[in-house]
Amino acid sequence: MNPLFDIAVSVARIAVFFAFVFGLVVVMTWVERKGAAYIQDRRGPNRASIMGVTLFGMFHPLADALKFLFKEDFIPDGAHRLFYQLAPMFALAPAILTMAVVPFGPPVTIAGKQVALHIADLNVGILYLFAVSGMAVYGIVLAGWSSNSKYPLLGGLRSSAQMISYEVSMGLSVVGILMVFQSVQLSAIVRGQGELLFGILPRWGVFVQPLGFILFVTALYAEANRTPFDLPEGESELVAGYHTEYASFKFSMFMMAEYIHLVVGAAVLATLFFGGWQFPYLGDSGFAFPGGISVAVPAWAVFLLRIGSFVGKTLFFCWLYVWVRWTIPRFRYDQVMRLGWKVMLPLALANIFVTGIVLLLIDRGGF
């Protein structure tokens, strides 16, 4: 085997997925602001222009980035200098790491070799995802504590409590999926979702695990600190929460981490519950509809449809974050905790139990 080929493929995969996620992060900051504006009957960003071209305010993320770069890098008096500087890195690094295990397309054959469109097809996929995204709380807690200011401290406290409680139900809500698809490897889960359920529905996670899906989405929003669970940065009571004392590029690193979590969360949601790159009824050689009708599709079109399906699903769930944010008001803190421990956790456990029974019955019944 040619080692150069392997290296080139790895680098290309990383570059493509990195570009995809970061590009989407930039676009999402714009979508968030413009979407918010249109939902609230405002116009939103439309001023930044390059040579008189405004392009619906698309240049605002660029202007924001430039502004962040040129702002004063400020460290408050009495802050713990080392941890204060480390916190944004602790927030950003796990966010970037999580994107490694998401499969963004079917395996392709290049120069006679199978190449998986995956940065790393770990056999502990989901465990890695949870382990790494769980680290994100360190960045927030460190930022809150090291700023030596009361609002960030309260924000950091809240977020640590919130993220730890929702991590439990998030992990448990996915167990049902793992039981159904008999794997923790994300590529295997996606492959398992290519089959049909009762010969009609695609065997997507959302159809076999509807409750698991709802619980997972809720926990995902809580983990990403998005409304209705954005307690850590509740503006009305905590100024801006854990990143109150941060300015310039350090602040933008927190912002980036938040949006990367959002994008990767959307991609994971698409992967686990909506078939990842699977296109409904599309096999390797073409469409095969339940009625017995089949349409042949050339291989390149199948490939493009599958990539497009993944991108489309990811974009939809990214938009869902924005949509939900401007629809639902923030929960009160005790409501968040009650929902997490008294509703989500028992439901997740019950979901596992019921899934186990159903799987056992199917196994016995030999369906």
Partner: protein, 161 residues
């Protein structure tokens, strides 16, 4: 029963469907996407006024920035009688009178300063003026500026409009 105690309507208990949140959240999402799609399709309906380029037309009796009127020959109509300065509750008008070269007019304002930062836009000066020399019908607010000195309007500026 104590006098003055009012029975306040308490929110009713949530029904089972509402307490699940999910249905209500989906309804809410429907409302917001409705607004979103309407605003995307009918961009013109958004009530925002793009301020520096587009300006709202003020009602005709709007009391805005002051202006001084001129006679036919271009000299200020003001006869420096101090009526406006006396009427002004904010004491923002400062007039220095001089003897008019025109034999039919007694005095004219050598300087006429209005401190726009003190003005409360009450319109008393307009009411007080016997010659209809000061009006507030420019139809716009005091434009912003970056120093206090620039916001003390001199006679030249007041005569411009």
């Amino acid at each position: 029963m104590t006098i003055g105690v009012k029975k306040v309507a308490r929110p009713r208990k949530m029904s089972f469907g509402e307490s699940l949140y999910l249905i209500e959240i989906v309804k809410g999402l429907g409302v917001t996407i409705g607004h979103f799609l309407h605003n995307v399709a009918h961009n013109k309906d958004i009530p925002t006024i793009e301020y520096p380029e587009v300006r709202r037309t003020m009602p005709p009796r709007f009391r805005g920035c002051h202006r001084l009127m001129k006679r036919m020959d271009g000299t200020p109509r003001c006869v420096a009688c101090y009526m406006c300065a006396t009427a002004c509750p904010a004491e923002c008008i400062t007039i220095v009178a001089g003897e008019s070269p025109d034999a039919t007019v007694e005095k004219y304002p050598v300087s006429f300063d209005i401190d726009m930062l003190r003005c409360v836009f009450c319109g008393q000066c307009v009411e007080a003026c016997p010659c209809d020399a000061i009006r507030m019908d420019t139809g716009w607010y005091t434009p912003p500026d970056d120093s206090r000195e620039k916001l003390i309007f001199k006679i030249e500026r007041l005569l411009e409009k």
